[in-house]
């Protein structure tokens, strides 16, 4: 996020204009106006599609707005939040579902991209380009196709996963219909989404200066030690970036469980993730007021989690140029 390459606001004007008094100022002002014109699509978009809706959903969360009766809108104070905290059983259920999923998903989202990137960065690997393309490719597959393909793979009767397990004498579980196995199953489906994370981890690994490894080798550090003490700290900004995106992804997690369960939250209520609950309240029951309250709770939770992660960054993320 470095902005160091940008010149200071006066640089262009000062360099190009004649030394006449006021000339630099007016050129600068004219460039500033042009800059504002060019940046305006985003500013308008940010106001219209981000800031205004955020404020509006906060306001709506204190009302009983229902899209089926759009003309009857009442201010109900904190009622939605009371309902959400003390009455609605699905809030707790969905948060626990998210937590159970996260317990596997977050560690995987850190370890797997590093492991695959390290493998693809190995000096002993032939055909690196091809492997990089192959490991990235599933990321491009539309979610709808990916979920259906994995749904078939994980089918307890005809799927290949259980067939393979049977070959080695293991009776495979009923992945998609068992409340305990659904979370591992969702994570297996999620494997196809690691393309971006491993690719930028790999690029970051390739950017680590080789002198560091040479120096460590001279000092007698073994490969594992070099990996732990050089590679990991040097790529920690990318690990951090991936972790932030995974964390946000957890709070947004919707499509895969929605397509799998067709929105029912089955098996049991194990895939009734927070976003699915929110979706149903808002778009099935049209409870826009209550849905907004849920959305804001989600936003606050996501904000707190991300904030803590950013606070932790100073202890383990290494930035070679202190510009962040």
């Amino acid at each position: 996020m470095s902005t160091s390459q940008q010149s200071s606001p006066f640089a262009v004007g000062a360099a190009d204009s004649p030394p006449a008094v006021g000339g630099a100022g007016s050129l600068h002002r004219s460039r500033q106006i042009w800059g504002l014109i060019f940046v305006s699509p985003w500013i308008i978009g940010f106001l219209a599609f981000t800031l205004f809706p955020m404020v509006a959903s906060l306001v709506l969360s204190f009302t009983d707005y229902n899209l089926n009766e759009p003309d009857q809108i009442n201010w109900i104070g904190l009622e939605n939040f009371q309902e959400l905290l003390y009455v609605d059983p699905l809030v707790g259920t969905s948060l626990i579902a998210t937590l159970k999923f996260a317990l596997i998903a977050l560690p995987l989202s850190i370890i797997l991209p590093i492991a695959i990137a390290a493998l693809l960065n190995s000096p002993y690997l032939a055909g690196k380009r091809i492997f990089r393309t192959l490991f990235y490719m599933p990321y491009i597959v539309p979610l709808i196709s990916g979920v259906y393909i994995w749904q078939g793979m994980l089918n307890s009767e005809t799927g290949w996963i259980n067939r393979l397990l049977a070959e080695i004498g293991i009776m495979g579980p009923n992945w998609l219909n068992d409340v305990n196995w659904i979370y591992p199953a969702l994570n297996i489906i999620g494997l196809w989404g690691i393309g971006n994370a491993f690719l930028i981890t790999l690029a970051s690994m390739q950017g680590v200066p080789t002198e560091l490894y040479e120096a460590a080798r001279v000092d007698g550090a073994n490969p594992w030690r070099r990996f732990r003490s050089i590679t990991i700290p040097m790529i920690s900004p990318v690990i951090f970036y991936n972790l932030v995106l995974s964390l946000i992804g957890l709070f947004r997690y919707f499509e895969i469980p929605y397509i799998l369960s067709q929105g029912t939250g089955e098996p049991g209520q194990s895939t009734m993730f927070f976003t699915i609950h929110l979706y149903k309240q808002a778009f099935v029951f049209k409870e826009m007021g209550y849905g907004s309250a849920l959305a804001w709770v989600l936003f606050v939770l996501a904000f707190i989690a991300t904030f803590i992660l950013f606070l932790s960054a100073r202890y383990w993320v290494y930035y070679s140029n202190e510009e962040f």
Partner: protein
């Protein structure tokens, strides 16, 4: 790094030592490459599962749960007007004969040799259920034309491409302008604005969803393409970042020369910046096309109940929500849905992956 190692080894002098090292290196290389290849194969196996399932019919799928993974049918023989299955029957003399099972029994069964029907029945001792059937490949290619028609594939592709291409135009015009502003112009609170732009990447979309939907519903946009198109005319953080990074690498001297020739900022953008930026513009366009092709959530909520307007993702979903019990149709449509983005990716993988790396590493 490889050259460094080999240099140091040769300095050691003895050829055989060098040779040993090379052999060892080759051995490790084979092992690592083999391991990676197996991992990649496992990672991509679901595609083969999907492809094979998509050309089976219901019976073959049920049969394949135990038997062959290939789309196969058992060979049959018509005996006294009845179709009977052919099995591989091990004979007492050690030969295996392919015989048709005409009379099933628990202890022994009667077979007939289709090649020599006149020779009469052959009785075989043992349970016929332990026998392997004689099979031939019988792929059901017709699943694809059927799926093509039933999901109305041409309509879905037309809708998806129209949404994608209009979106590309929108995101290019707006993101290029915004990136140009961030790369070349003095702006008040520039750092704050840029930080705000980047932080929209990590905003959970749900928090803006409901009011946006409500407003779209009020102004009659729900049930049209407008909610899927209009927001892209207001720039997007990833694209702006990617374009800005590229613009920053372009030499300013060309801008300045054009400026001295009297070109205004818009002129410079169109005749100096854009002609130098085709790689990144292509990358942004491809990202958007793939994004639009794969987008599921927005069309799910905004195009509910509009079967003539839906893109491919929703078309596939609607079809399979109704035909949940036909795995071959599900896989056929899944493959039809992924063919285009995967093809685009393979054709332009360099551009694609470089774009990902820039947005990921440089932030």
């Amino acid at each position: 790094m490889a050259s460094i190692t080999s240099q140091r080894e040769t300095r050691g002098g003895f050829n055989s030592v060098w040779f040993d090292k090379q052999l060892r290196k080759f051995g490790i290389m084979s092992l690592v490459t083999l391991f990676t290849a197996m991992l990649a194969a496992a990672f991509l196996t679901p595609f083969f599962y999907s492809a094979l399932t998509s050309i089976k019919d219901q019976d073959q799928i049920v049969a394949s749960a135990r038997g062959s993974i290939w789309p196969v049918d058992q060979l049959t023989y018509t005996y006294e007007g009845e179709e009977v299955g052919i099995y591989k029957v091990p004979m007492p003399d050690g030969n295996i004969r392919e015989l048709a099972l005409v009379d099933k029994g628990r202890q022994s069964s009667d077979f007939i040799d289709p090649a020599a029907a006149d020779a009469g029945l052959v009785t075989w001792e043992g349970s016929w259920r332990t026998l392997d059937p004689v099979e031939e490949l019988a792929p059901r290619w017709e699943n694809f034309p059927t799926a093509w028609e039933e999901i109305n594939f041409p309509l879905l592709v037309r809708n998806t491409l129209a949404i994608a291409l209009i979106g590309v135009i929108g995101t290019l015009i707006s993101s290029i302008a915004v990136a140009y502003a961030f790369a070349r112009f003095p702006l008040p609170f520039k750092r704050t604005l840029f930080f705000l732009l980047i932080s929209t990447i990590i905003l959970p979309t749900q928090v803006t969803l409901i009011p946006t939907y409500t407003i779209y519903a009020r102004i009659g946009w729900v049930g049209t393409w407008l909610p899927l198109l209009v927001p892209h005319f207001f720039a997007n953080a990833y694209n702006v970042f990617l374009l800005r990074q590229y613009f920053l690498t372009l030499p300013k001297e060309l801008d300045e020369a054009a400026m001295i020739d009297g070109a205004g900022p818009l002129r410079i953008l169109i005749s100096v910046i854009i002609p130098q930026s085709w790689p990144v513009i292509v990358a942004v366009s491809l990202f958007h096309i793939v994004f639009a092709w794969n987008d599921y959530f927005a069309p799910l909520i905004y195009l509910l109940g509009k079967p003539n307007l839906i893109p491919i993702s929703i078309g596939i979903q609607n079809f399979n929500f109704q035909y949940g019990s036909k795995p071959h149709m599900i896989q056929a449509t899944a493959l039809m849905g992924l063919a285009f983005p995967v093809l685009v990716f393979f054709l332009a993988q360099r551009v694609f992956m470089r774009g990902v790396v820039i947005t990921g590493v440089e932030k």
